[in-house]
Symmetry: C2
Subunit: 188 residues, 2 copies
């Protein structure tokens, strides 16, 4: 079985989900394919609004994330600037093959959300990904690959991040991982 995991490194809920992916694979035997997309582009395409645009949701967001991080036993560092621009990071990931993408995405999530290092500045990004990967982000191929992933997510029904697919079945949010697990273990 394969699970597709559409994520954006700007999304703290994608970080929470990413932290749980290895355990999900271990418990279900499924393989997770990491699919970088651009959340800002998705919101624009489908006319959704980021949670921060509603004051009550913006006030709730970090409280919720702090508790989720505590529940899962992971670190969480709130960025000084949020939402920051993840376009270069996401393009770099989109230009990689699956294995490299997975490893680099985990490094980016760890750097930004656990260690509090910026991933929207060239120097910091180079330190995390290496200069070759960062150069890759600047190519037309990287731009087109990220755009294609984002458009594919929109066409398949995504409206936020993280979004998981098992075939056509869409699962939204880091709080659906236990549902994915139950569905897989029940053979559905």
């Amino acid at each position: 079985m394969q699970i597709e995991f559409f994520f954006d490194t700007v999304s703290p809920y994608s970080y929470v989900a990413a932290s749980q992916v290895p355990a999900l694979e271990r418990r279900t035997g499924a393989t997770v394919r990491w699919r970088p997309f651009f959340l800002g582009g998705l919101f624009k395409t489908i006319g959704n609004r980021a949670p921060l645009e509603l004051p009550a949701k913006a006030r709730y967001l970090w409280h919720d994330l702090e508790r989720l991080a505590r529940f899962h036993g992971i670190a969480l560092r709130k960025p000084d600037n949020f939402p920051f621009n993840s376009l270069t990071a996401q393009r770099a990931l989109a230009a990689m093959d699956d294995d490299a993408c997975r490893a680099a995405a985990q490094q980016l999530f760890q750097a930004r959300w656990a260690e509090g290092r910026p991933i929207d500045e060239e120097q910091s990004l180079t330190g995390i990904l290496g200069s070759e990967a960062l150069a890759g982000a600047g190519t037309a191929g990287a731009r087109d690959a990220l755009k294609a992933n984002t458009e594919e997510a929109a066409e398949r029904g995504a409206f936020g991040a993280p979004t998981f697919f098992i075939g056509d079945a869409l699962f939204f949010g880091c709080d659906r991982l236990h549902i994915i697990e139950a569905e897989l273990l029940a053979g559905r």
Copy 2:
């Protein structure tokens, strides 16, 4: 410890949450106070949109709910008309004392979401709540009580249903019950 549970019987996610409340009380020793409010009024007050207003979310909603219901082992019947008007039902609940409200709310959730009986028609509502409770829904006291609950929820930061509070701490969604449980058991 007391947990406040703001719910609307029109909200299928409130139904899922309601089905888990007795087990939450049992496992944590906390008491849940049932607080009926009017979700349509809340959305209007704070400028939020119902999930159905975004096509991608509307397409996702029932798939997600079917899987949640399966996960929790509860029945789920999709209404022919949704969202239906829950104002009379919610006013009837708001006019009751806490114990009566809890019992009647569970009856309404069960009737609408497990058995597929309408709760927006007088005859059906009378059959579920009794004629006295239905008459209570028509009073100025009931109207004011529901309005006060809705305004209180908005002022305390709610933006959807179900919403839980432990003191000032807000928890949104039926998928935060395990977080509430973890926080309570850790003595936070």
